[in-house]
Protein backbone atom coordinates (compact mmCIF):
# COMPACT_ATOMS: atom_id res chain seq x y z
CA UNK A 1 0.00 0.00 0.00
CA UNK A 2 1.27 3.47 -0.84
CA UNK A 3 0.05 6.88 0.20
CA UNK A 4 1.19 10.47 0.39
CA UNK A 5 0.85 13.03 3.16
CA UNK A 6 2.27 16.41 4.08
CA UNK A 7 3.60 15.51 7.52
CA UNK A 8 4.45 12.14 9.05
CA UNK A 9 5.10 12.02 12.79
CA UNK A 10 6.96 8.96 13.99
CA UNK A 11 5.97 8.08 17.56
CA UNK A 12 2.73 8.80 19.44
CA UNK A 13 4.22 9.70 22.83
CA UNK A 14 3.90 13.15 24.39
CA UNK A 15 6.38 14.60 21.85
CA UNK A 16 4.57 13.24 18.78
CA UNK A 17 1.16 14.23 20.12
CA UNK A 18 2.13 17.81 20.99
CA UNK A 19 3.93 18.24 17.65
CA UNK A 20 0.84 17.01 15.79
CA UNK A 21 -1.51 19.35 17.63
CA UNK A 22 0.81 22.33 17.06
CA UNK A 23 1.23 21.56 13.34
CA UNK A 24 -2.54 21.31 12.92
CA UNK A 25 -3.05 24.61 14.74
CA UNK A 26 -0.53 26.17 12.38
CA UNK A 27 -2.66 25.04 9.46
CA UNK A 28 -1.28 21.65 8.36
CA UNK A 29 -4.30 19.55 7.36
CA UNK A 30 -2.65 16.39 6.13
CA UNK A 31 -0.89 14.77 9.11
CA UNK A 32 -0.32 11.11 9.99
CA UNK A 33 1.00 9.81 13.33
CA UNK A 34 2.60 6.35 13.28
CA UNK A 35 2.85 4.49 16.61
CA UNK A 36 4.19 0.99 17.08
CA UNK A 37 2.39 0.38 20.39
CA UNK A 38 -1.26 -0.60 20.76
CA UNK A 39 -2.16 2.80 22.20
CA UNK A 40 -1.02 6.42 22.07
CA UNK A 41 0.78 8.00 25.03
CA UNK A 42 4.25 6.48 24.85
CA UNK A 43 6.27 5.79 27.98
CA UNK A 44 3.78 7.77 30.09
CA UNK A 45 1.37 4.83 30.05
CA UNK A 46 3.65 2.94 32.41
CA UNK A 47 4.57 5.96 34.57
CA UNK A 48 1.56 5.74 36.89
CA UNK A 49 3.10 7.96 39.60
CA UNK A 50 2.11 11.60 39.99
CA UNK A 51 4.30 14.60 39.34
CA UNK A 52 3.68 15.22 35.65
CA UNK A 53 2.46 18.52 34.28
CA UNK A 54 3.34 20.75 37.22
CA UNK A 55 4.46 23.42 34.74
CA UNK A 56 1.95 22.88 31.92
CA UNK A 57 -1.30 22.30 33.78
CA UNK A 58 -0.33 23.57 37.28
CA UNK A 59 -1.61 20.23 38.53
CA UNK A 60 0.16 17.07 39.59
CA UNK A 61 -1.06 14.52 37.09
CA UNK A 62 -0.07 10.88 36.69
CA UNK A 63 1.62 9.82 33.43
CA UNK A 64 -1.50 8.30 31.82
CA UNK A 65 -3.57 11.36 32.76
CA UNK A 66 -1.01 13.75 31.27
CA UNK A 67 -0.91 11.69 28.07
CA UNK A 68 -4.72 11.56 28.12
CA UNK A 69 -4.95 15.35 27.85
CA UNK A 70 -2.89 15.35 24.66
CA UNK A 71 -4.59 12.28 23.21
CA UNK A 72 -7.91 14.10 23.66
CA UNK A 73 -6.54 17.12 21.76
CA UNK A 74 -5.38 14.89 18.89
CA UNK A 75 -8.76 13.19 18.74
CA UNK A 76 -10.65 16.48 18.92
CA UNK A 77 -8.59 17.84 16.05
CA UNK A 78 -9.33 14.56 14.22
CA UNK A 79 -5.67 14.02 13.41
CA UNK A 80 -5.30 10.55 11.88
CA UNK A 81 -3.02 7.99 13.51
CA UNK A 82 -2.13 4.35 12.95
CA UNK A 83 -1.43 2.07 15.93
CA UNK A 84 0.55 -1.18 15.98
CA UNK A 85 2.49 0.36 13.12
CA UNK A 86 6.25 0.19 13.17
CA UNK A 87 8.36 2.50 11.05
CA UNK A 88 11.28 0.55 9.61
CA UNK A 89 12.94 3.01 7.26
CA UNK A 90 13.14 6.63 6.20
CA UNK A 91 14.78 7.67 2.95
CA UNK A 92 14.80 10.63 0.61
CA UNK A 93 13.16 10.38 -2.79
CA UNK A 94 15.57 10.55 -5.67
CA UNK A 95 16.34 14.18 -6.33
CA UNK A 96 13.07 15.33 -4.87
CA UNK A 97 12.50 17.09 -1.62
CA UNK A 98 10.10 14.46 -0.23
CA UNK A 99 10.83 11.54 2.08
CA UNK A 100 9.66 7.95 1.93
CA UNK A 101 8.65 6.56 5.30
CA UNK A 102 8.39 2.77 5.25
CA UNK A 103 6.17 1.25 7.92
CA UNK A 104 4.42 -2.02 8.55
CA UNK A 105 1.42 -3.37 10.40
CA UNK A 106 -0.82 -6.45 10.28
CA UNK A 107 -3.64 -5.01 8.17
CA UNK A 108 -1.68 -3.08 5.56
CA UNK A 109 1.54 -5.08 5.55
CA UNK A 110 4.44 -3.00 4.31
CA UNK A 111 3.56 0.52 3.22
CA UNK A 112 5.47 3.41 1.70
CA UNK A 113 4.32 6.83 2.73
CA UNK A 114 5.62 9.78 0.75
CA UNK A 115 5.85 12.81 3.04
CA UNK A 116 6.90 16.41 2.50
CA UNK A 117 8.13 16.64 6.09
CA UNK A 118 8.87 14.18 8.90
CA UNK A 119 9.03 14.71 12.66
CA UNK A 120 11.11 12.18 14.60
CA UNK A 121 9.49 11.56 18.02
CA UNK A 122 10.56 7.98 18.81
CA UNK A 123 11.52 8.65 22.44
CA UNK A 124 14.32 6.76 24.15
CA UNK A 125 15.16 3.33 25.46
CA UNK A 126 17.06 2.08 28.47
CA UNK A 127 20.77 1.65 28.28
CA UNK A 128 21.48 -2.03 27.77
CA UNK A 129 22.78 -4.29 30.48
CA UNK A 130 26.27 -4.01 29.06
CA UNK A 131 26.53 -1.17 31.54
CA UNK A 132 26.77 -3.93 34.13
CA UNK A 133 30.32 -4.96 33.58
CA UNK A 134 30.33 -8.33 35.31
CA UNK A 135 31.63 -11.48 33.67
CA UNK A 136 29.84 -14.79 33.84
CA UNK A 137 26.43 -16.34 34.03
CA UNK A 138 23.19 -14.34 34.18
CA UNK A 139 20.59 -15.99 36.42
CA UNK A 140 16.90 -15.03 36.25
CA UNK A 141 15.84 -12.04 38.32
CA UNK A 142 17.84 -9.31 36.57
CA UNK A 143 15.62 -6.68 34.93
CA UNK A 144 15.96 -3.19 33.64
CA UNK A 145 13.98 -0.80 35.82
CA UNK A 146 11.72 0.14 32.92
CA UNK A 147 10.84 -3.49 32.19
CA UNK A 148 10.00 -3.98 35.86
CA UNK A 149 7.88 -0.83 35.70
CA UNK A 150 5.92 -2.24 32.78
CA UNK A 151 5.37 -5.57 34.60
CA UNK A 152 4.15 -4.01 37.82
CA UNK A 153 2.17 -1.06 36.49
CA UNK A 154 0.57 -2.45 33.36
CA UNK A 155 0.37 -6.17 33.96
CA UNK A 156 0.05 -6.15 37.75
CA UNK A 157 2.90 -8.67 38.21
CA UNK A 158 5.77 -8.37 40.70
CA UNK A 159 9.24 -9.31 39.42
CA UNK A 160 10.53 -10.29 42.89
CA UNK A 161 10.43 -9.84 46.66
CA UNK A 162 13.89 -8.81 47.80
CA UNK A 163 15.39 -6.19 45.60
CA UNK A 164 18.69 -4.41 45.01
CA UNK A 165 18.69 -1.51 42.53
CA UNK A 166 21.81 -0.45 40.65
CA UNK A 167 21.65 3.11 39.39
CA UNK A 168 19.86 6.05 40.97
CA UNK A 169 18.16 7.42 37.85
CA UNK A 170 14.54 8.43 38.25
CA UNK A 171 13.05 5.17 37.04
CA UNK A 172 15.08 3.21 39.60
CA UNK A 173 14.00 5.55 42.40
CA UNK A 174 10.36 5.40 41.39
CA UNK A 175 10.47 1.62 41.20
CA UNK A 176 12.03 1.47 44.67
CA UNK A 177 8.92 3.14 46.07
CA UNK A 178 6.49 1.23 43.88
CA UNK A 179 7.87 -2.19 44.79
CA UNK A 180 8.07 -1.29 48.48
CA UNK A 181 4.40 -0.28 48.46
CA UNK A 182 3.57 -3.57 46.75
CA UNK A 183 5.20 -5.48 49.60
CA UNK A 184 8.74 -6.06 48.34
CA UNK A 185 11.80 -5.26 50.44
CA UNK A 186 14.11 -2.88 48.59
CA UNK A 187 17.39 -3.31 50.40
CA UNK A 188 19.56 -0.67 48.82
CA UNK A 189 20.00 1.58 45.81
CA UNK A 190 23.63 1.62 44.69
CA UNK A 191 25.02 4.42 42.50
CA UNK A 192 28.39 4.30 40.77
CA UNK A 193 28.79 8.08 40.70
CA UNK A 194 29.36 10.26 43.79
CA UNK A 195 25.98 11.96 43.12
CA UNK A 196 22.53 10.71 42.19
CA UNK A 197 21.32 10.88 38.61
CA UNK A 198 17.74 11.39 39.76
CA UNK A 199 15.64 14.36 40.78
CA UNK A 200 15.93 15.41 44.42
CA UNK A 201 12.20 15.14 44.98
CA UNK A 202 12.35 11.49 43.95
CA UNK A 203 15.16 10.77 46.41
CA UNK A 204 13.09 12.26 49.21
CA UNK A 205 9.73 10.80 48.25
CA UNK A 206 10.88 7.41 47.02
CA UNK A 207 13.85 6.53 49.24
CA UNK A 208 13.87 8.71 52.38
CA UNK A 209 10.12 8.21 52.94
CA UNK A 210 10.68 4.46 53.18
CA UNK A 211 14.09 4.41 54.80
CA UNK A 212 15.74 2.88 51.73
CA UNK A 213 19.50 3.56 51.81
CA UNK A 214 21.24 5.19 48.83
CA UNK A 215 24.89 4.21 48.55
CA UNK A 216 26.90 6.54 46.33
CA UNK A 217 30.24 5.62 44.72
CA UNK A 218 29.15 1.99 44.90
CA UNK A 219 28.75 -0.71 42.28
CA UNK A 220 27.81 -4.37 41.87
CA UNK A 221 30.87 -6.57 41.47
CA UNK A 222 29.32 -10.04 41.69
CA UNK A 223 25.97 -11.79 41.31
CA UNK A 224 25.44 -15.19 42.92
CA UNK A 225 22.80 -17.77 42.00
CA UNK A 226 22.35 -20.34 39.23
CA UNK A 227 18.69 -20.38 38.31
CA UNK A 228 17.68 -17.24 40.13
CA UNK A 229 19.63 -14.40 41.73
CA UNK A 230 20.50 -15.30 45.34
CA UNK A 231 22.71 -12.37 46.28
CA UNK A 232 24.66 -9.48 44.85
CA UNK A 233 27.98 -8.18 46.11
CA UNK A 234 28.48 -4.43 46.32
CA UNK A 235 31.77 -2.59 46.65
CA UNK A 236 32.76 1.05 47.06
CA UNK A 237 34.56 2.61 44.12
CA UNK A 238 37.35 5.13 44.14
CA UNK A 239 37.60 8.31 42.05
CA UNK A 240 38.71 6.10 39.13
CA UNK A 241 35.39 4.21 39.50
CA UNK A 242 37.27 0.98 40.20
CA UNK A 243 36.16 -1.20 43.16
CA UNK A 244 38.15 -0.70 46.35
CA UNK A 245 39.31 -4.05 47.80
CA UNK A 246 38.06 -4.73 51.30
CA UNK A 247 34.80 -2.80 50.89
CA UNK A 248 32.79 -5.75 49.54
CA UNK A 249 29.39 -6.41 51.03
CA UNK A 250 27.17 -9.36 50.03
CA UNK A 251 23.44 -8.65 50.05
CA UNK A 252 20.93 -11.52 49.78
CA UNK A 253 18.16 -10.77 47.26
CA UNK A 254 16.16 -12.40 44.47
CA UNK A 255 16.00 -9.44 42.11
CA UNK A 256 18.45 -6.92 40.68
CA UNK A 257 17.02 -3.89 38.88
CA UNK A 258 19.28 -1.94 36.57
CA UNK A 259 18.53 1.74 36.20
CA UNK A 260 21.50 2.75 34.12
CA UNK A 261 20.05 5.63 32.20
CA UNK A 262 18.24 6.28 28.96
CA UNK A 263 19.48 6.73 25.44
CA UNK A 264 17.62 8.28 22.48
CA UNK A 265 16.14 5.76 20.04
CA UNK A 266 17.91 6.74 16.84
CA UNK A 267 18.41 3.68 14.68
CA UNK A 268 15.94 5.06 12.14
CA UNK A 269 17.52 8.50 12.19
CA UNK A 270 20.93 6.97 11.59
CA UNK A 271 19.61 4.98 8.61
CA UNK A 272 18.12 8.13 7.15
CA UNK A 273 21.51 9.85 7.28
CA UNK A 274 20.66 12.20 10.14
CA UNK A 275 23.79 13.48 11.90
CA UNK A 276 23.80 12.44 15.56
CA UNK A 277 25.53 14.14 18.46
CA UNK A 278 28.17 11.95 20.14
CA UNK A 279 27.16 13.48 23.50
CA UNK A 280 23.37 13.09 23.47
CA UNK A 281 23.09 10.30 20.84
CA UNK A 282 20.27 12.43 19.45
CA UNK A 283 20.13 14.40 16.18
CA UNK A 284 22.03 17.65 15.82
CA UNK A 285 19.38 20.31 15.19
CA UNK A 286 19.09 24.01 14.40
CA UNK A 287 16.78 26.64 15.90
CA UNK A 288 13.81 25.07 14.11
CA UNK A 289 14.49 21.56 15.46
CA UNK A 290 15.45 20.63 11.91
CA UNK A 291 18.16 18.03 11.43
CA UNK A 292 20.87 18.17 8.77
CA UNK A 293 18.28 16.69 6.37
CA UNK A 294 15.91 19.38 5.12
CA UNK A 295 12.33 18.72 6.19
CA UNK A 296 13.25 16.20 8.90
CA UNK A 297 12.63 17.52 12.43
CA UNK A 298 13.15 15.98 15.89
CA UNK A 299 11.74 16.59 19.37
CA UNK A 300 11.30 14.96 22.77
CA UNK A 301 13.44 12.18 24.16
CA UNK A 302 14.66 11.14 20.72
CA UNK A 303 16.47 14.49 20.61
CA UNK A 304 17.90 14.51 24.15
CA UNK A 305 16.69 12.77 27.29
CA UNK A 306 14.32 14.94 29.34
CA UNK A 307 13.37 14.47 32.97
CA UNK A 308 10.29 16.67 32.81
CA UNK A 309 7.58 15.88 30.32
CA UNK A 310 6.47 19.53 30.41
CA UNK A 311 9.63 20.49 28.56
CA UNK A 312 9.02 17.70 26.06
CA UNK A 313 5.59 19.11 25.27
CA UNK A 314 6.96 22.64 25.00
CA UNK A 315 9.79 21.60 22.69
CA UNK A 316 7.48 19.43 20.56
CA UNK A 317 4.95 22.26 20.22
CA UNK A 318 7.74 24.45 18.88
CA UNK A 319 8.96 21.70 16.53
CA UNK A 320 5.41 21.12 15.20
CA UNK A 321 5.05 24.84 14.53
CA UNK A 322 8.37 25.01 12.71
CA UNK A 323 7.55 21.96 10.58
CA UNK A 324 4.30 23.70 9.62
CA UNK A 325 6.25 26.82 8.67
CA UNK A 326 8.55 24.68 6.54
CA UNK A 327 5.57 23.13 4.74
CA UNK A 328 4.18 26.60 4.01
CA UNK A 329 7.55 27.70 2.64
CA UNK A 330 8.05 30.14 5.50
CA UNK A 331 11.29 28.69 6.86
CA UNK A 332 13.28 30.88 4.56
CA UNK A 333 16.55 32.53 5.32
CA UNK A 334 18.55 29.35 4.75
CA UNK A 335 21.23 31.47 3.18
CA UNK A 336 21.54 33.80 6.15
CA UNK A 337 24.46 33.70 8.51
CA UNK A 338 24.58 30.50 10.55
CA UNK A 339 25.60 30.85 14.20
CA UNK A 340 27.13 27.92 16.05
CA UNK A 341 26.14 27.35 19.67
CA UNK A 342 28.49 25.34 21.81
CA UNK A 343 28.82 24.24 25.40
CA UNK A 344 32.14 24.52 27.22
CA UNK A 345 33.59 24.18 30.69
CA UNK A 346 30.99 21.84 32.13
CA UNK A 347 28.19 22.42 29.62
CA UNK A 348 28.10 19.07 27.85
CA UNK A 349 25.97 19.94 24.82
CA UNK A 350 23.31 22.38 23.66
CA UNK A 351 20.00 21.94 21.84
CA UNK A 352 19.90 23.56 19.32
CA UNK A 353 23.51 23.61 18.22
CA UNK A 354 23.14 26.08 15.36
CA UNK A 355 20.76 28.90 14.52
CA UNK A 356 19.92 31.27 11.70
CA UNK A 357 19.21 34.68 13.17
CA UNK A 358 16.67 35.48 10.43
CA UNK A 359 14.70 32.32 11.11
CA UNK A 360 14.63 32.37 14.88
CA UNK A 361 11.62 33.46 16.89
CA UNK A 362 11.90 36.43 19.28
CA UNK A 363 13.07 34.17 22.06
CA UNK A 364 15.14 31.04 21.55
CA UNK A 365 15.35 28.56 24.41
CA UNK A 366 18.68 26.72 24.51
CA UNK A 367 18.62 23.59 26.69
CA UNK A 368 21.58 21.61 27.98
CA UNK A 369 22.98 19.51 30.79
CA UNK A 370 26.09 19.99 32.87
CA UNK A 371 28.62 17.23 33.44
CA UNK A 372 29.10 17.54 37.18
CA UNK A 373 27.57 19.03 40.32
CA UNK A 374 28.39 22.76 40.43
CA UNK A 375 27.68 25.03 43.38
CA UNK A 376 27.71 28.82 43.48
CA UNK A 377 28.84 29.31 39.95
CA UNK A 378 27.97 31.50 36.98
CA UNK A 379 26.40 30.42 33.75
CA UNK A 380 28.06 32.70 31.22
CA UNK A 381 26.91 33.35 27.65
CA UNK A 382 29.42 34.66 25.08
CA UNK A 383 28.64 36.19 21.69
CA UNK A 384 31.85 35.52 19.77
CA UNK A 385 34.38 36.42 22.50
CA UNK A 386 32.29 38.90 24.45
CA UNK A 387 30.46 37.86 27.56
CA UNK A 388 26.93 39.23 27.27
CA UNK A 389 25.24 37.69 30.26
CA UNK A 390 26.02 35.91 33.48
CA UNK A 391 23.46 34.06 35.52
CA UNK A 392 24.35 33.09 39.05
CA UNK A 393 23.41 29.52 39.94
CA UNK A 394 23.35 28.16 43.46
CA UNK A 395 23.47 24.63 42.19
CA UNK A 396 23.46 22.72 38.92
CA UNK A 397 23.51 18.94 38.63
CA UNK A 398 23.67 16.45 35.74
CA UNK A 399 20.23 15.16 36.76
CA UNK A 400 18.43 18.39 35.96
CA UNK A 401 18.18 20.03 32.55
CA UNK A 402 19.20 23.70 32.39
CA UNK A 403 18.32 26.44 29.92
CA UNK A 404 19.22 29.93 28.79
CA UNK A 405 17.06 32.18 26.64
CA UNK A 406 18.53 34.10 23.72
CA UNK A 407 16.79 37.24 22.50
CA UNK A 408 16.61 37.80 18.76
CA UNK A 409 17.15 41.56 18.98
CA UNK A 410 20.34 41.03 21.01
CA UNK A 411 21.63 38.69 18.33
CA UNK A 412 20.69 41.10 15.55
CA UNK A 413 22.59 43.90 17.29
CA UNK A 414 25.80 41.90 17.31
CA UNK A 415 27.91 42.40 14.22
CA UNK A 416 29.55 39.41 12.56
CA UNK A 417 28.14 36.98 15.09
CA UNK A 418 29.45 33.52 14.26
CA UNK A 419 29.39 31.64 17.52
CA UNK A 420 27.70 31.60 20.89
CA UNK A 421 29.33 29.82 23.82
CA UNK A 422 27.69 28.76 27.07
CA UNK A 423 30.07 28.04 29.90
CA UNK A 424 30.09 27.29 33.63
CA UNK A 425 32.45 29.68 35.43
CA UNK A 426 33.57 30.17 39.01
CA UNK A 427 32.66 33.71 39.98
CA UNK A 428 35.65 36.01 40.31
CA UNK A 429 35.12 37.07 43.89
Amino acid sequence: MNRTTDLVIIGGGPAGLAAAVAARKAGVQDILILERDRELGGILNQCIHNGFGLHTFKEELTGPEYAGRFIAQVQEAEIPYLLNTMVVDISATAGGKTKIVTAMNKEDGLMNIEARAVILAMGCRERPRGALNIPGYRPAGIYSAGTAQRFVNMEGRMPGREVVILGSGDIGLIMARRMTLEGAKVKVVAELMPYSGGLKRNIVQCLDDFGIPLKLSTTVIDIKGKERVESVTLAKVGPDRKPIPGTEEEIPCDTLLLSCGLIPENELSGMAGVTLSPVTSGPVVNESFETNIEGVFACGNVLHVHDLVDYVSEEATAAGGRAAAYLKGELEGEGSQEVTIKGEGGVRYTVPSTLHVDRMTDKQVVRFRVGNVYQNCDLAVYFNDTCIQKLHKKVMAPGEMEQVILLKNKLQETENLTNITIRVEQPTA
Binding site: P64, V204, V395
Partner: protein, 118 residues
Amino acid sequence: METRELTCIGCPLGCALTVTMNGEDITVTGNTCPRGAEYAKKEVTDPRRIVTSTVRVTGGSLPAVSVKTKSDIPKGKIEDCILALKNVSLTAPVHMGDVVLSNVADTGVDVIATKNIL
Protein backbone atom coordinates in the same frame (compact mmCIF):
# COMPACT_ATOMS: atom_id res chain seq x y z
CA MET B 1 12.63 18.84 72.41
CA GLU B 2 13.02 16.84 69.24
CA THR B 3 15.01 17.48 66.08
CA ARG B 4 14.65 16.05 62.58
CA GLU B 5 16.78 16.22 59.47
CA LEU B 6 14.97 16.75 56.16
CA THR B 7 15.85 17.53 52.56
CA CYS B 8 13.76 20.31 51.06
CA ILE B 9 12.12 19.34 47.76
CA GLY B 10 11.08 22.89 46.91
CA CYS B 11 13.76 23.35 44.24
CA PRO B 12 16.88 21.61 42.88
CA LEU B 13 19.07 23.15 45.57
CA GLY B 14 17.74 20.55 48.02
CA CYS B 15 18.73 22.34 51.22
CA ALA B 16 19.48 20.14 54.23
CA LEU B 17 16.97 21.29 56.82
CA THR B 18 17.07 20.80 60.58
CA VAL B 19 13.73 21.07 62.32
CA THR B 20 13.58 21.61 66.06
CA MET B 21 10.25 20.91 67.74
CA ASN B 22 9.52 22.24 71.19
CA GLY B 23 5.85 21.48 71.71
CA GLU B 24 3.98 23.93 69.48
CA ASP B 25 7.16 25.80 68.74
CA ILE B 26 8.87 24.73 65.51
CA THR B 27 12.09 26.26 64.23
CA VAL B 28 13.73 25.43 60.94
CA THR B 29 17.37 26.00 60.06
CA GLY B 30 19.38 25.25 56.94
CA ASN B 31 16.77 26.64 54.55
CA THR B 32 17.90 29.17 51.98
CA CYS B 33 14.44 30.60 51.38
CA PRO B 34 11.07 30.74 53.21
CA ARG B 35 9.64 27.88 51.16
CA GLY B 36 12.00 25.51 52.95
CA ALA B 37 10.62 26.47 56.35
CA GLU B 38 7.05 26.08 55.13
CA TYR B 39 7.78 22.66 53.70
CA ALA B 40 9.52 21.49 56.86
CA LYS B 41 6.69 22.66 59.14
CA LYS B 42 4.09 20.83 57.06
CA GLU B 43 6.31 17.79 56.87
CA VAL B 44 6.70 17.46 60.65
CA THR B 45 3.11 18.37 61.60
CA ASP B 46 0.97 16.89 58.82
CA PRO B 47 2.95 15.06 56.13
CA ARG B 48 0.75 14.10 53.18
CA ARG B 49 1.23 12.25 49.91
CA ILE B 50 -0.76 11.41 46.82
CA VAL B 51 -0.71 7.62 46.54
CA THR B 52 -0.62 5.88 43.15
CA SER B 53 -1.04 2.16 42.53
CA THR B 54 -2.85 -0.33 40.32
CA VAL B 55 -6.06 -2.32 40.72
CA ARG B 56 -6.98 -5.62 39.07
CA VAL B 57 -9.34 -5.51 36.09
CA THR B 58 -10.99 -8.42 34.33
CA GLY B 59 -12.25 -8.50 30.77
CA GLY B 60 -10.18 -5.58 29.51
CA SER B 61 -7.24 -5.04 27.19
CA LEU B 62 -4.87 -5.12 30.20
CA PRO B 63 -5.16 -6.96 33.56
CA ALA B 64 -4.59 -3.83 35.69
CA VAL B 65 -5.62 -0.19 35.77
CA SER B 66 -3.56 2.63 37.30
CA VAL B 67 -5.23 4.59 40.12
CA LYS B 68 -4.49 7.50 42.47
CA THR B 69 -5.94 9.10 45.57
CA LYS B 70 -7.90 12.14 44.38
CA SER B 71 -5.99 14.37 46.79
CA ASP B 72 -3.14 13.81 49.22
CA ILE B 73 -3.71 11.62 52.29
CA PRO B 74 -1.81 11.48 55.60
CA LYS B 75 1.49 9.70 55.15
CA GLY B 76 0.60 7.28 57.96
CA LYS B 77 -2.38 6.02 55.93
CA ILE B 78 -0.40 5.00 52.84
CA GLU B 79 -0.07 1.36 53.86
CA ASP B 80 -3.76 1.01 54.74
CA CYS B 81 -4.64 2.57 51.42
CA ILE B 82 -2.48 0.11 49.47
CA LEU B 83 -3.89 -2.84 51.43
CA ALA B 84 -7.47 -1.71 50.80
CA LEU B 85 -6.76 -1.53 47.07
CA LYS B 86 -5.54 -5.14 47.04
CA ASN B 87 -9.12 -6.25 47.75
CA VAL B 88 -10.62 -4.31 44.86
CA SER B 89 -11.32 -5.99 41.56
CA LEU B 90 -12.99 -4.20 38.65
CA THR B 91 -14.61 -5.29 35.42
CA ALA B 92 -13.85 -3.50 32.16
CA PRO B 93 -14.65 -0.96 30.89
CA VAL B 94 -13.01 1.35 33.41
CA HIS B 95 -12.77 5.08 32.58
CA MET B 96 -10.29 7.70 33.68
CA GLY B 97 -11.79 9.49 36.70
CA ASP B 98 -14.09 6.60 37.75
CA VAL B 99 -14.19 6.18 41.53
CA VAL B 100 -12.53 2.87 42.30
CA LEU B 101 -12.85 3.01 46.09
CA SER B 102 -14.51 5.77 48.08
CA ASN B 103 -13.25 7.11 51.40
CA VAL B 104 -10.16 4.91 51.33
CA ALA B 105 -8.89 3.93 54.80
CA ASP B 106 -11.26 6.49 56.38
CA THR B 107 -9.31 9.42 54.97
CA GLY B 108 -12.37 10.96 53.36
CA VAL B 109 -10.52 10.74 50.04
CA ASP B 110 -11.62 8.69 47.01
CA VAL B 111 -9.36 6.58 44.84
CA ILE B 112 -9.93 7.18 41.11
CA ALA B 113 -8.78 5.48 37.91
CA THR B 114 -6.09 7.34 35.94
CA LYS B 115 -6.43 5.43 32.69
CA ASN B 116 -9.10 3.94 30.40
CA ILE B 117 -9.18 0.15 30.24
CA LEU B 118 -11.69 -0.87 27.58
